[in-house]
């Protein structure tokens, strides 16, 4: 057993301070819910129906000019202000589905103004399909959480499965809440990213529970203090690994956000939020929830056995 880990474990007891971390997570949860109920999510066409038009202009341009072109071609249609992004690209979103001929007309007008390098990218979704997508995405997250919880409950113990499921939902919620707070657009790749988080966030948690299980064999856990000590030591023993892993994965996610294509910028942002939340929750939440649950179980047992002893 590494002496350095034990040194840290003595210096700072994460488990003893678990209430503080619970409070932090509750505050984030409350803020996130508040934001979602007041502002909602900025849903992209994948979930709201309508047409999203991405235009690659490849030259300097002014959004007002493009705005004017779109307005001229589709005078009766409501659309969000043309927004510039990335290297000379712009997009706008229509709240209704736009027939392809109209979009081609816009493209032609842009080509006439800015030259042949102009290309467009279109994404149109019908309301019925959008509803189905939302439902499937929600189901996917629930089933993934359930499947993983069952596996963990089977491989470890029931209460660990419960703790993992809670930590998992925590990690899924945080990126969603942050997207609501920052008004970032939620589309199909968002769901893919959330589900990547589902697969990944528990990696850390499981490594920690594996260590707890291993240490349990050699350390006695008769009292709640023993249990707290066991978990605290296990956390510190796996700390280097937890930090290093998140650093390597984050490095790639950050690289994609800053250097990758705009099309997956949101995807990588979800990953970053989720990775950070995932490593936070595995160290400061999941194992702590387990300790709290275990404590309740221990207290209950004490009460139930008391009459027999007296």
């Amino acid at each position: 057993m590494s002496y350095r880990a034990l040194e840290y474990a003595d210096k700072y007891n994460i488990v003893k301070n678990r209430k503080k971390f619970f409070v932090i997570s509750w505050i984030i949860l409350a803020l996130g819910l508040l934001s979602m109920f007041t502002f909602g999510l900025n849903l992209g066409v994948d979930f709201k129906a309508g047409t999203r038009l991405d235009m690659y202009i490849g030259k300097d341009f002014s959004t007002t000019d493009i705005d004017a072109i779109v307005r001229e071609k589709l005078p009766e249609t409501h659309f969000t202000n043309v927004t510039a992004y990335g290297e000379k690209q712009a997009y706008t979103r229509f709240e209704e589905t736009i027939p392809p001929e109209k979009l081609t007309e816009i493209e032609q007008a842009l080509i006439a103004k800015y030259g042949d390098q102009v290309t467009k990218q279109e994404s149109t979704v019908d309301p019925i399909i959008a509803q189905e997508l939302v439902r499937n995405a929600g189901l996917a997250i629930l089933f993934a959480a359930l499947g993983i919880a069952i596996y963990v409950a089977f491989r470890f113990q029931f209460l660990i499965g419960v703790a993992c499921a809670i930590a998992l939902l925590h990690d899924v919620f945080i990126p969603i809440a942050l997207f609501s707070v920052f008004r970032l657009e939620v589309d199909l790749t968002f769901i893919a990213a959330i589900l990547t988080i589902v697969g990944y966030s528990l990696n850390d948690t499981i490594v920690i529970f594996d260590r707890i299980r291993e240490n349990e064999r050699v350390m006695k856990t008769k009292t709640i203090e023993d249990l707290e000590h066991l978990v605290n030591v296990s956390l510190w023993q796996t700390m280097r690994r937890s930090v290093f892993t998140v650093v390597t994965v984050l490095a790639t996610a950050v690289a994609i956000v800053f250097l990758g294509s705009e099309g997956i910028r949101n995807f990588s942002l979800v990953l970053i939020f989720g990775l950070l939340s995932g490593s936070y929750s595995s160290i400061f939440i999941a194992a702590q929830i387990w300790v709290s649950l275990k404590k309740r179980e221990m207290n209950k047992k004490r009460f139930s056995t008391a009459p027999n002893e007296s």
């Binding site: 991405d54 149109t124 997508l133 990944y200 994609i256």
Partner: protein, 411 residues
Amino acid sequence: MIKWSRLVLFLVVVGLLGGLFTTTGQVASNITLGLDLKGGFEILYQVEPLNEGQKVDTTLLAATAQMVEKRVNIGGVTEPEVNVELPDRIRVKIASHDADQEKLRELIGKPAVLTFRDVQGKTLMRGSDLAPGGAAVGYDELKRPLVTVKFKEPKLLEDVTRANLGKPMGIFLDDTMQTNPTIQSVISGGSAQITGNYTQESAQELADLLNSGAMPAKLIEKQVTSVGATLGAMSLEKTLYAGYIGGAFIFLFMLVVYRLPGLVANITLAAFIYLSLLFLDWMDATLTLPGIAGFILGIGMAVDANIITYERIQEEIRSGKTILSAFRAGERRSLVTILDAQVTALIAAVVLYFFGTSSIQGFAIISMLTTIVSIFTNVFASRFLLGLLIRTNLFKKPSWFGVKESEIGEL
């Protein structure tokens, strides 16, 4: 005692791998790119019956899908992906640089009710009366192009031609007349010829139109994703670049923190990347933008297996074990942890596959693949190689493993 044979074996294995890696570019270029990287489009159609009373069933869906595929092929695009999604949808994916998207979309989506009408505009026959693929280009005695047409029921054609002999019969696509040949004789065999001033091209066009006109159902666009070729290429380039930078950081990180094992991890990581690409190629999987991101992330996850093992080995060394026994204990103790972590990732990917729609499914397949490949490269291969190196007895100092002498505790 130094065992050179192990070192030689290690070098041979690494040399062989190095030889394989030179084909990486070739393997990578064989991988099918999704439409978001290549340009192209994906459309989800709702299938609706042409006539009232007709029901949309699997037979009709299959026939419609087949027709869609044919129409896309007529547009000059090979390998379109046409899938039936029950109960009543068809998804068409076309990833191609040079497909004329507008034209193809118009061609596929056209309800295109093909009718043969008499002078009064009364419908005599329909596109569905044509034999499948029944129209072709033929030539008359003077080698002038003409269009030959075959009907399913010769009797119907015979009746129609008898009733309208000498009169023109218009061929309409919806309400647009395409051509207006005059019926010159009663045709009994079921095969007719349309003659006129056709060139090779215009004859082919009409034949294609007649073939594609026999769409058995109406198609309504429900979801469209279309990407211009320039945008796709740009996405690919930028994301790959991001991948190189992220990957380079990981390689450097492993080398600095774990030294000798870090070197082995980097070799197996290269093998991981190579094998993942190779399997993607073999499976004919389509790589999409989220797929690449997932793949880059997979590199981060694959390296986690090494981090878990090496942290364990470092711990064992610090507790005073010899390098070899620290390696043995470390690899044994980390295996269960790694497998547990990988299984949860797999569960998530499988769920994703079953609930996701097309592009997410592609992503799920890639994450399943990378998870499985990483178990082989970054768990088993990595152990084998590191074991070889350690057993050469060349690397006995803890500093080779990123552990300072001063950190080693007394037993």
